[in-house]
């Protein structure tokens, strides 16, 4: 066939019309707008709320202490947050008084044996938070330990002088001879987030693609459109249009999340600083955050983000094409179910295998799953934060491109026949026959 540039332009023009329609109708939908704005707000809430509650529930608690052993006098010291009051009433009286007072809890220290400390209890009208429990346990344990040390003739201060504290800095060596501080914790978190987002995006937008095809088919618009464009052009227009919807949502999420978390950090910081000074436990958490943040610098975020975009688009095209083919073979969402399981199985297997990959990000299972196109988008995103050799990345990307060209080709052949078939009970054999049908 003779190549004509003008004809090429006409086809491109039509495909871009289709892309544009698919894009606009979806972006204008209320559900898209809500999801786009709610996503980052939810993410922000996930970041914000635990800190918020941590800051607020701790304040102004009061406890009573009954010390029957006589060993724990002045162990609990009141401060700004928690006040302790030693009382010498009978336990039963104290318990019944507790319900009528606004004291949060009653710490009961029995007359215990140093060797066998048992019978401690915390009474309260409501459940105590885990951090309260652990702080009380800590205080008791520490004091009992030093009592035991004293009993065995050792001085607590001498023991303290032996104590050492070490932070292990993990440093990645790169070929260029540079050293980078890294944190496998941060890499794990980033890998998980990226992998899950790829999984969700491919699933959500793949299913969107499928429903779009089913809608066109069941509303019988498809033959009208096919009098103007080829089936493959219609399919590509839809697949690409929906990919752009996904990209738009992703970019908006990043921008909005960044904006919201910036707002939150500005809003939170004075309080957080204050807390840090007041509470040593909080400041150690802040230390951890700082370490994690500096470790983030060690992970190549530009690489992570651009790889994310690539694997999102590649993975979506690969699965989106298959979803479109499923849609073309189905008259309703229910019809599509029988084909969904095998098609989405590699996606689900990838997600399940993440923990395996995590144990050994450079092992052979990780390697092969990040090369095979059906699993590579999710698995590779888990591996990249841990560092992947450039040749592996290039091979994986190349395979993914081959992969989606392959599925687009297969899907196109099924789609062109399926889209015009109504009321046929479709199974795998029929799909294969459609695929083999000559043009």
């Amino acid at each position: 066939m003779k190549f004509s540039f003008q004809k090429y332009l006409q086809v491109m023009n039509k495909v871009s019309l289709i892309i544009f329609r698919e894009y606009l109708t979806r972006v204008k939908k209320k559900s898209f707008i809500i999801a786009t704005f709610l996503g980052p707000i939810l993410m922000g809430a996930v970041m914000f709320l635990p800190t918020y509650f941590a800051l607020n529930t701790q304040g102004n608690q009061s406890f009573q202490v009954i010390d029957e052993s006589g060993l724990m006098g002045a162990v609990f010291v009141s401060d700004d947050e928690v006040s302790y009051e030693y009382i010498s009433t009978n336990l039963d009286v104290a318990k019944s008084d507790l319900l009528e007072s606004d004291v949060d809890g009653l710490i009961y220290i029995p007359d215990f044996e140093l060797n066998e400390p048992q019978g401690f209890a915390l009474y309260g009208a409501s459940n105590q938070s885990i951090s309260t429990l652990s702080s009380i346990e800590n205080t008791l344990e520490l004091h009992i330990e030093s009592l035991r040390l004293l009993a065995s003739g050792l001085d607590k201060e001498v023991i303290d002088s032996f104590e050492a504290h070490i932070d292990l800095n993990t440093i990645n060596l790169s070929n260029s001879g540079g050293e980078q501080e890294s944190s496998s914790g941060a890499a794990t978190i980033i890998g998980y987030i990226a992998s899950f987002m790829i999984y969700m995006f491919v699933f959500i937008y793949g299913a969107m693609c499928m429903r779009g095809v089913i809608e066109e088919k069941s509303s019988r618009i498809v033959e009208i459109v096919l009098s103007s464009v080829k089936p493959f052009e219609l399919m590509m227009g839809k697949v690409i249009g929906i990919a752009m919807v996904g990209l738009t949502q992703f970019v908006l999420w990043i921008l909005l999340t960044a904006g919201i978390s910036m707002l939150i950090s500005v809003f939170m910081s004075p309080e957080a600083l204050e807390m840090g000074a007041a509470n040593s436990e909080m400041s150690s958490e802040a230390d951890m955050m700082a370490t994690a943040l500096s470790a983030l610098g060690g992970i190549n975020m530009t690489l992570v983000l651009s790889a994310f975009l690539f694997y999102f688009i590649g993975g979506y095209l690969l699965y989106g094409a298959l979803f479109a083919a499923i849609g073309s073979a189905s008259d309703s969402d229910a019809d599509a179910q029988q084909f969904m399981v095998p098609v989405t199985a590699p996606l689900i297997i990838s997600i399940i295998s993440l923990s395996l990959v995590l144990q050994d990000p450079h092992g052979s299972v990780s390697f092969w799953m990040s090369i095979i196109p059906f699993t590579s988008p999710i698995i590779m995103m888990m591996r990249i934060p841990f560092g992947v050799a450039p040749w592996e990345l290039i091979l994986s990307m190349f395979m993914l491109i081959l992969g989606f060209l392959f599925t687009l080709w297969i899907a196109g052949r099924i789609y062109r026949v399926g889209i015009l078939m109504h009321g046929t009970k479709v199974n795998w054999k029929i799909l294969a026959k459609w695929f083999m049908t000559s043009d």
Partner: protein, 302 residues
């Protein structure tokens, strides 16, 4: 001149012959009716012409050139299975479909406005398609088919879903398009519309072409020497004709439907009658396409 030539087309679906060896010619600037009962193969033939499905054998020529995908895209095609994007607005949707046919946006808007006015849909520009009645949606689909002013229009069952008033409206639009120089092919299993509209027809039954030609010529060929006469008196009992039925009109006047055994000129027939009866009216009974259709496809004929 012939616009379309269909040359020995055959098509089988799994275990079922949809079309066997169909050959047809469709003249330029005329209306061509593709008739046949449900499941005869009309839609299959149309889908082959529009290259939506592929024939097993045979060729389709448009203007003496074998039809290609690029030629098909210029056709105005109203499929039998037709619908619209439910969530799209009427105007927006028509613009989209016109642009796919190659119109610029401004040109599309201009023409669509004219058409919506013509078909009483002017106030529906901004309404969602799902709010339209079935008839209105059909009109919108019709507009989408003709808005790019194609030289060739293929309408598969264009009148299904229309009430008589709207069917008439569409009928007149089709005639107008023909007068402006378009060639129109339409399929139907309802014969009423055929006689007023079609210049030529082809009759398909059980995948085979049974007859084709101009409406006039087909009717001429299917005359069976039947006449309707109004008379007074008693018909002669001659063997040259049969009385198919007889009814009493007012007074002595009677009407009879008679059939002559041999083809003869009307005057010879009258000569046989006037000896015995007083003749008030004499007309030849020309078969309707419907009657020809039924006589051809009814099982007794085979």
């Amino acid at each position: 001149m012939d616009l379309i030539k269909i040359d020995h087309i055959s098509k089988a679906y799994s275990g079922h012959q949809a079309l066997s060896d169909i050959s047809l010619t469709i003249p330029d600037k005329s209306i061509f009716g593709l008739l046949g009962p449900n499941g005869a193969g009309k839609t299959t033939l149309i889908r082959i012409i529009t290259k939506i499905i592929q024939q097993d054998q045979g060729k389709v020529f448009l203007n003496k050139e074998e039809i290609t995908y690029d030629l098909v895209r210029k056709i105005g095609y109203l499929p039998e299975e037709r619908g619209l994007y439910k969530k799209m607005k009427v105007g927006e949707q028509l613009i989209y479909l016109s642009q796919l046919k190659g119109l610029s946006r401004t040109e599309a808007v201009k023409r669509i406005k004219i058409w919506l006015e013509k078909l009483d849909l002017k106030s529906w520009w901004n309404k969602n398609v799902e709010d339209l009645s079935k008839g209105m949606a059909q009109k919108v689909q019709f507009i989408a088919t003709v808005v790019h002013e194609p030289k060739l229009l293929i309408l598969d069952e264009p009148f299904s879903g229309f009430d008589p008033v709207n069917a008439d409206l569409i009928k007149n639009e089709i005639l107008e398009l023909r007068d402006k120089g378009a060639t129109i092919i339409f399929s139907t299993h309802r014969m009423e519309s055929v006689e007023e509209l079609c210049d030529n027809i082809a009759l398909i039954n059980q995948s085979k072409k049974i007859l084709d030609g101009s409406v006039k010529q087909i009717k001429e060929e299917h005359k069976q020497g039947q006449y309707i006469i109004d008379y007074t008196g008693t018909l002669p009992t001659k063997e040259s004709f049969d009385v198919l039925n007889q009814t009493d009109l007012e007074g002595d006047l009677k009407r009879a439907h008679i059939k002559f055994h041999e083809a003869s000129k009307p005057n010879d027939l009258i000569a046989q009658l006037i000896g015995s009866v007083q003749l008030f009216a004499f007309s030849e009974k020309i078969p309707t396409i419907n009657e020809i259709f039924i006589s051809k496809v009814s099982p007794s004929h085979e």
